[in-house]
Amino acid sequence: MKFANKLIRYKEKGKILFLIFICLLFSQCVEEFDFETEDFESILVVNTTVTNEVKRQQVLLSRTFRFEDNGPLLESGATIKVVEENTGIEYLFEEVSSGTYLSVQEFAAMPDKKYQLIINTSDGRSYVSEKVMLPNEISIDRVYPKRMANTRGVEGIGILVDTFDPTSTSKYYRYKFEETYRITAPFWSPQDIVIITGEEDCIYDFIERPEGRRVCYADNFSNSIIITNTTAFNEDRLTGFLLNFLPSDDIRVVDRYSILVKQFVQSKEANGFYQILKDFSESESLFSQVQPGFIEGNIISENNKDEIVLGFFDVSSVSERRIFFDSNDFIGDLTKFDFGCQAILPVIDVENEETREAFERRWIRVASDRSNMFVSMESNGPPEPEGCKSTIDGFTFVTPRECGDCTAFGRSEVPDFWED
């Protein structure tokens, strides 16, 4: 026994020592810190990708902002045009909302032509981009879900992409995606209650509940830079490129899921820009950190050579593909998203000597707070007697809103593209 104790103690000691080691090995000793912006510079940020789709092309102009601020200052009042070099055609843009500029006419970037972006800001400065050509268009071969574990060993579904360019000219790929997922509230019941006040022997009554809060749809947009290239491969082919990983307990795979994947074939220079942006925004290793610096794009100020401009005038060919799947087809056996549902049953608090009146008042208060709570009922209990209820019986219960009202997560309108 004594020996066993000793052993345990040794084990504990070992743990402390090697916690330190873990610290060394893994980013456990990394902590977040608050910082304030010093030496802030307001720099023009140009974010645009002109594609080969016929549409009103978009240019977003903003300025850098302090970390303390919530979001960017949008750059209004600029005049923007894209010039097609060979033909001299100028596509003019108009500001549709603050900082968002759309081309007046629909147009698409054409192969073998060079385009240049010209911006004149309201303070009289002008900026020009390098002349950029449209890369090859390659359609996505396949987008598909696959059950897998990520590098940390978490199980879930990976969204993978296959693509192939037989001409071997594309090489650099960037992806964006839009996810849409369906959520069905687990404790939704077709009947709701209304609290009746002022009437004796009547506390609440049942009413029909609109369907709209049972099934909802939510969206999510990619917010990281997803780029890859095939330069190290013997052919211009991507097989099973992991675009997105959904842990099994993620709400996005609680029911049915759809993803629209956009594939941009981009130039080497654009890839370089995005690669640096990505490198600087990811922590690679605890021990070696990439030397950060200013990311040079392909846009310069015409007035002042020393002025720096952030952004890249990107002309890409785009192709897209949407898929749908039910999560149960892949991860039915795994732990799903936990809605955190607790059924709060109306029971008198005997311990604190709660009176019946106080109990009723308390219950009414809870049941009326629809922003946090949802009133549900046991679906397979005996049928509820008609008419106004004078006592609080065991048929109803209260749950957090998320459990019965899907609008806590999304919207109830079915998206146009949705396929069940």
Partner: protein
């Protein structure tokens, strides 16, 4: 290992029994008509006595008899050797040394230290040779202060002369040879023998005292009474002296006196300095001295006087070690038990060394013991270390083998944490050395060293890096004035990244650099005032700059292998140390270095006046095998002078020029093990540097305190850097990403050392700055608009204090305190939104600093007891690293997570880290 354990166990038993038997070492044995050798074996069997002799001395005595009952060993041996020429001598209670003819004295000869002690205790027998006066009798006489009186000549009543001539020969009794150049002291006047051993002198009539004192010979003292001219031959007996411990305090290592200042690390003392996880690290001790720093706790490499970490030439027995550290610099890759001397040249690099700008770390291993089997071991929380030494040919050659291994791997595996299951972190290093002395004048040493690190941070990738160093040295002394050293060495560094993920892109990336070096160095002592040091050296580099191989059958990775790089770096050097006056000494050296970038290779030639890019290649030239692509080089002057103002105060100044033809490629803020080394070629110029320094050195209180103050200014050219975000690994056109600029560093270093007393240690303070300038007419090739900016390791204030206090011989306390200005970092100056996510915008490089660094470590050392016959000498170190629990940030970085920018700081040891290490010697 089991074998060794057995051995240790045996030795243990033996030593135990000694202490038990020592008092009653009375012998009972009888033998008849046997040989002496067998009797000795018999005694060895019965007792714990050990005899030391050469078999051939005894082989002629094969018929001895004896019968002893409870006799002392002395009586037995006296009897045994009665009719032989063998003398014996007992030391350390149980060791018996036999000598033919000679006698061992247990003291140095009389007057060796100028003391007035008298030759004492000897055990001996009368020699077999018919000597006229036995040594025994002699010794007895000297004890009683009786001197033999020799009468010369026949007195002649008619003689009116006051002086007579005495002559004769001095001879070695054992060899019969005459002894030349022997000083005979006659009444305090010395007379020397000539080459035939003959002497002649005039003496007054009457009593004279003759004395002969020669090292390795017995002393002779006679009373000479001169009656007339006459002859007296002096016959000397050989004598072997077992000396008392002789403590030599040389003046040559003295910071005031030496001309080329070197930083010497006391390897032995380094065990007393508390370090992270109880790991002894000689080079980390160096970083507590002025001018040598690291970029941070988890940073590889050393920055010497504002130089990049690739500018240090780290030599282990003359072979280059590319990465002397394990595990991101937290552990040293050099076995502290194996090291003998550690000298760092940062001020003036001797002309014999070259190829790196900032410093030379000259590490030499100690020689393996040629006398006895020895070992040293330590067990710490993370590593275990064993070093064994054994003689191969007694007295001539020895072998040393040492190994260190980290056992972190199984601990990671044993942890419950799922995500760590596939993690790995392990390392080891092995060193072996063989030294062989052929004669007084000729000695060879061979050293082999390897180290390996394995680590994986994510489960799908494994990083491995290896060091290898082999060297062979031959030291030869032609005569007292001329000596030579020929060394051959081979070094290799390689790393490998294996990626084994879920998709079809598994790969294996490899890199290696190999160098073969030959160096001949000669030293010539022209006279007492002029010394020369000259030689030639040449090394051939072979670099495999990177290759990628698909692994697994499904992998679609295209195999790629960048062209091999080769280069030949050669130099001739001549240095002389000249004492111009008694107080002024100049050490002047010149080294002429030449670097040839060799084919087979292809090189791009770029258009002038435009930034280098793939689009601006004017032509691509192909070179054949061994064709010279480009030759760089030039003279490197190394001058330093020392002027002694008085015995304890000197001023030194030096000028140093260095070239470096090999660079590390890294776009990280700190050095990483997967940084690659690249040779200079058509487009990448060699780095060069010039350093000026001036210092004042002072000793106080008989060198109990050493004080120095030194300033330096350094200017370097063609320091390598990279365009923002450059891809380095496997880049076929790395020259399009490289920027080369100027470096500037200056500083003042102050060091106060106390070396004697119960409280000892040092206190160092450095104020220094280090800047880089990357200027170009093209904005994409500029950093910080082409202005000078602080380098990644610019730490203006650096204070360190190492204080040890010895309570008793067994207990001592060690403290180590460090304060440094925070390292420069690049901070974002704002944020911007792009494609739905926020990112940081970085503008000026290294404009900000991380918070200042400070750390206090405490160590408590307990030496094992000092019993003479203990099996092993043990030593415990209990230490706490970072006692104050200071959360020193190592780096600061900014990540985008869920579209939002987050500032993160990492620290390596943010809490006090206790550790306990057990060391023992046997």
């Amino acid at each position: 290992m089991k074998k060794y354990l057995g051995l240790i166990f045996l030795m243990y038993i033996q030593t135990q029994s000694i202490s038990a038997q020592q008092k009653d070492s009375l012998l009972t044995l009888s033998f008849k008509n046997t040989d002496v050798l067998s009797v000795i074996h018999l005694i060895e069997e019965q007792t714990d006595y050990h005899f030391y002799f050469i078999d051939s001395w005894l082989k002629e005595y094969n018929d001895v008899s004896g019968d002893y009952k409870n006799e002392s060993i002395i009586n037995v041996l006296n009897g045994l050797f009665e009719n032989t020429i063998i003398n014996f001598f007992i030391i350390e209670n149980d060791k018996i040394i036999l000598t033919p003819n000679s006698i061992i004295y247990d003291k140095v000869p009389d007057g060796f230290f100028g003391r007035d002690s008298i030759v004492t205790y000897t055990e001996n027998t009368i020699g077999k040779t018919k000597s006229s006066s036995s040594v025994f009798a002699n010794a007895k006489k000297s004890k009683k202060n009786k001197i033999e009186t020799i009468r010369i000549g026949k007195a002649n009543a008619d003689n009116t002369k006051q002086k007579f001539v005495l002559s004769g020969y001095v001879k070695n009794r054992q060899t019969g040879n005459p002894l030349s150049n022997i000083f005979i002291n006659l009444n305090g006047v010395a007379v020397a023998t000539n080459s035939k051993g003959f002497y002649e002198t005039e003496l007054n009539t009457g009593l004279n005292i003759l004395e002969v004192k020669v090292l390795a010979m017995e002393n002779v003292r006679k009373r000479i009474i001169m009656y007339n001219d006459g002859q007296y031959d002096i016959i000397l007996n050989e004598g072997i002296e077992q000396l008392d411990e002789v403590v030599l305090q040389t003046k040559t290592y003295n910071n005031v006196d030496e001309v080329v200042t070197k930083t010497k690390i006391d390897v032995k003392e380094s065990k007393n300095i508390p370090l992270a996880l109880g790991e002894r690290d000689v080079l980390k001790v160096a970083t507590s001295l002025p001018g040598i720093t690291t970029a941070g706790e988890g940073a590889l490499g050393y920055n010497v006087r504002g130089g990049k970490s690739d500018q240090n030439l780290i030599l282990l027995d003359d072979a280059v070690i590319y990465n002397p550290q394990h595990f991101f610099g937290i552990f040293s890759a050099l076995n502290p038990f194996a090291l003998g001397d550690v000298n760092i040249y940062k001020n003036n690099i001797p002309a014999a060394y070259g190829g790196r700008l900032s410093s030379v770390f000259d590490l030499t291993t100690k020689d393996a013991s040629v006398e006895e089997f020895k070992g040293e071991a330590s067990i710490g929380p993370v590593t275990g270390n064993v070093l064994l030494e054994t003689p191969i040919i007694k007295g001539k050659s020895g072998l040393m083998v040492g190994g260190r291994v980290a056992y972190a791997n199984w601990i990671l595996d044993a942890l419950d944490e799922e995500s760590l299951k596939n993690s790995e972190a392990s390392f080891y290093d092995i060193i072996a050395k063989y030294n062989h002395r052929f004669s007084e004048n000729s000695k060879i040493e061979a050293t082999a060293y390897i180290s390996r690190d394995d680590f994986s941070i994510t489960s799908d990738s494994l990083y491995v890096y290896n060091n290898r160093a082999l060297s062979l040295k031959w030291n030869y002394r032609f005569n007292d004035k001329h000596a030579a050293k020929l060394s051959l060495s081979n070094s290799r560094y390689d790393f490998d990244i294996e990626f084994d993920g879920d998709t079809n892109t598994d790969f294996d990336i490899g890199y290696s650099i190999d160098e073969k070096d030959i160096k001949l160095q000669l030293k010539y002592l022209y006279n007492d005032n002029i010394k020369f040091d000259y030689g030639v050296s040449s090394k051939l580099y072979t670099v495999n700059p990177g290759s990628i191989q698909p692994t697994g059958t499904e992998s679609i990775i295209t195999p790629l292998r960048l062209d091999e790089e080769r280069g030949l770096e050669s130099a001739i050097f001549l240095a002389s140390e000249i004492d111009i006056t008694k107080n002024f000494t100049l050490d002047t050296g010149i080294r002429y270095s030449v670097f040839n970038a060799l084919g087979k290779a292809t090189q791009n030639v770029f258009q002038e006046g435009v930034p280098r890019s793939l689009e601006t290649i004017r032509e691509t030239i192909s070179y054949d095998e061994n064709e010279v692509i480009k030759t760089y080089g030039g003279p490197e002057l190394r001058i330093s002078g020392r002027y002694l103002l008085n015995e304890d105060l000197s001023i030194k100044a030096s000028y140093n020029k260095t070239y470096q033809f090999i660079n590390t490629l890294s776009n990280n803020t700190t050095v990483s093990p997967i940084d690659t080394w690249k040779l200079s070629d058509l487009n990448i110029k060699p780095q060069s540097s010039q350093q000026y320094s001036l210092g004042v050195y002072k000793n106080m209180r008989e060198r109990a305190y050493e004080l120095s103050l030194e300033g330096f200014y350094k200017f370097s050219k063609n320091i390598l850097d990279f365009k923002t975000g450059a891809e380095i690994l496997l880049n076929e056109n790395i020259e399009t990403e490289v920027l080369q600029g100027k470096g500037r560093a200056y500083g003042v270093e102050f060091l106060l050392k106390k070396q004697k007393g119960k409280l000892y240690g040092w206190l160092g303070y450095t104020y220094s700055r280090s800047f880089i300038q990357l200027e170009s007419e093209f904005r994409e090739e500029q950093v910080n608009r082409g202005d000078f900016f602080p380098s990644n390791f610019d730490k203006p204030h650096d204070f360190s204090m190492v204080l040890n206090y010895k309570f008793t011989k067994r207990f001592s306390l060690a403290t180590n305190f460090v304060y440094q200005t925070g390292r420069p970092v690049t901070f974002p100056i704002g944020s911007f939104r792009f494609d739905g996510a926020d990112f940081s915008v970085f503008s000026e490089r290294n404009k900000f600093r991380i918070p200042d660094y400070y750390r206090l470590d405490l160590g408590f050392n307990i030496e094992g007891n000092h019993k003479l016959n203990k099996l092993s000498h043990s030593f415990w170190t209990i230490s706490i690293y970072n006692v104050l629990g200071r959360n020193n940030p190592f780096s600061v970085f900014f990540v985008t997570e869920d579209g939002k920018v987050k500032g993160l700081q990492s620290s390596i040891f943010s809490i006090p880290v206790p550790s306990i290490t057990y060391n023992f010697k046997f």
